[in-house]
Point group: C2
């Protein structure tokens, strides 16, 4: 039976990835480790396929990541996990911040192609679907279904919407607002909105839906949106904010107006951002780490020519804290 | 007089960078723009130096950025500005998250060298000074003086410490705590601590200094630190937290203990993170955008063989909001 890279890895007591790194002289490896791997290969008479090696060498081992805004804590957190997992697999990360500019996003894709990245993770949502389809590289999309042929990873937005709305109903809220990013962006997050409507309709509650404009994460705009909401609906006693960042603006407005949370107004956010742990915010927790890791894994599998699931929906959970 | 690239740029009505991109076929450029630039070069009889062009071509136009943790909102924000400015200059960004691991940081530097990045911005603080010195690439360090020969960019930590402490004294705080990251990391941020001590000494106030441990941004550890502080010092009426993230933990603890902010306890943070705008937190604002942009600018100047200042200290300002 032919000796495989796995046999070499087992003999040395390291991972297949490590042996592959030695073969391709990729990443940092100590001289003693390289020696051990080379000795094992000689002892086992292991000859890596030259075709495989040259194919491997043709790769840049760089992944491109296009995001709307790295300074948004959700994207900061998902990027941390994407980077850590890619690194473990011997890949580097090229970071592209589209800042919601369609032109920049398009330029970046050309740049990434010219830099011969092996694949792209798209966490952005500005470009038209056709632009994406013309990208001739392995792709994974985060939280957006670009087309039927491009794999996407999302968490269960519908279930998140159900959990959040039901909590507010259970807590006897009588006038509920749903606050969200722009619904025209055609993100999967719109399902939270759909779930909200299905849950409140037919119930004995007042409800309203407010959305931010298309131009990205402008905290001052969030603030205005929330402030006009409370002016128009002074009786409001429940808010489902479709991001933790939006929920923070709701809490701020409640402090300003002297509305007690959760006594007079109950607030639930969305995302479960670790950096906001101190907020004591009730929220729907997305599996951010798992989403980031799977995005990398499915990209690498495509690069290796392996099939991957086209749709991946991960479960969310309700984290009930001090604001409901 | 010889025709220069500037003449071409002026004729077309674009920037020198854009002409340089056409010459080097770098970045995304429309066909019509390329045509205009080429026409102008022909008309002006402009011949770019082949030496200059080949030198340019040898570059990867990639900058490496090593950070402790991109999910920390301060680093997310500085990265946003680094990326945006680098992009304007025709450079891509390779993101390296050291996650406070010395080994990973070291491996990353080798990886970056192998990928032929043109230079590295170091926003990390795990490696020993000697490791940094052995990096044979243009370097800029953020918020840390690595050695006398490596340019660093920081904001005025000492002045920030003075402003924050004086505010608490002016507000008649009588028992003040300074909370900070680990002081042994030898970051320039330690000057905030020094300024705090100089301001409180000789005043009729009680004071104490608490620091987090070395292992990075663990919010649960922040929480414990703050909770034990309030247990030991129930009379505490002023806290200077050396990051906004630490300040959030102080606010949380105050909510838990039922201490009114700013009535019973005054809290000032540090950094001025835009994403935390909703917090209404009094803080010392670092010029994060300027720091990021200068880091890129000084790196590119080094890459071009130009001298840069070794020390750059940017001013900070006090933003007084609702917590003091």
């Amino acid at each position: 039976m032919a000796v495989t890279i796995k046999d070499v890895a087992e003999k040395v007591g390291v991972s297949v990835t490590t042996v592959s790194r030695v073969l391709n002289n990729r990443g940092y490896l100590s001289e003693s480790l390289k020696q051990k791997v080379n000795d094992a290969m000689e002892e086992l008479n292991y000859h890596p396929s030259e075709v495989a090696r040259s194919l491997l060498r043709k790769k840049s081992n760089i992944i491109g990541l296009i995001l709307p805004d790295i300074s948004h804590p959700f994207f900061g957190e998902v990027t941390k996990h994407i980077e850590a997992y890619a690194y473990e697999q011997g890949y580097k990360l090229m970071l592209c911040n589209s800042l919601h500019h369609k032109k920049k996003e398009k330029e970046y894709i050309d740049l990434l192609r010219a830099s011969r990245v092996d694949g792209i993770i798209m966490g952005s949502h500005t470009m038209s679907v056709n632009d994406y389809k013309s990208i001739n590289l392995p792709l994974v999309s985060l939280d957006r279904q670009i087309s039927k042929s491009i794999p996407f990873i999302a968490s269960d937005n519908y279930q998140g919407g159900v959990l959040a709305t039901r909590l507010l109903l259970r807590k006897k809220c009588r006038s509920i607002a749903y606050l969200s990013g722009n619904l025209r962006l055609n993100l999967l997050a719109k399902q939270r909105h759909d779930a909200f409507l299905e849950q409140v309709r037919g119930q004995d509650v007042e409800y309203t839906v407010r959305q931010t404009d298309l131009n990205g994460f402008k905290y001052k705009d969030y603030e205005k949106l929330v402030s006009s909401l409370f002016e128009e609906r002074p009786e409001l006693d429940g808010v489902f904010a479709s991001s933790d960042m939006l929920a923070l603006q709701v809490l701020k407005q409640c402090r300003r107006l002297g509305r007690a949370v959760p006594g007079q107004v109950k607030v639930i956010g969305y995302d479960g951002i670790a950096a906001l742990d101190a907020e004591d915010l009730t929220t729907i927790v997305q599996p951010i780490k798992k989403m980031g890791e799977l995005a990398v894994q499915y990209l690498l599998q495509q690069i290796a020519g392996e099939p991957v699931p086209l749709e991946t929906i991960l479960p969310v959970r309700l984290s009930e804290k001090g604001t409901t």
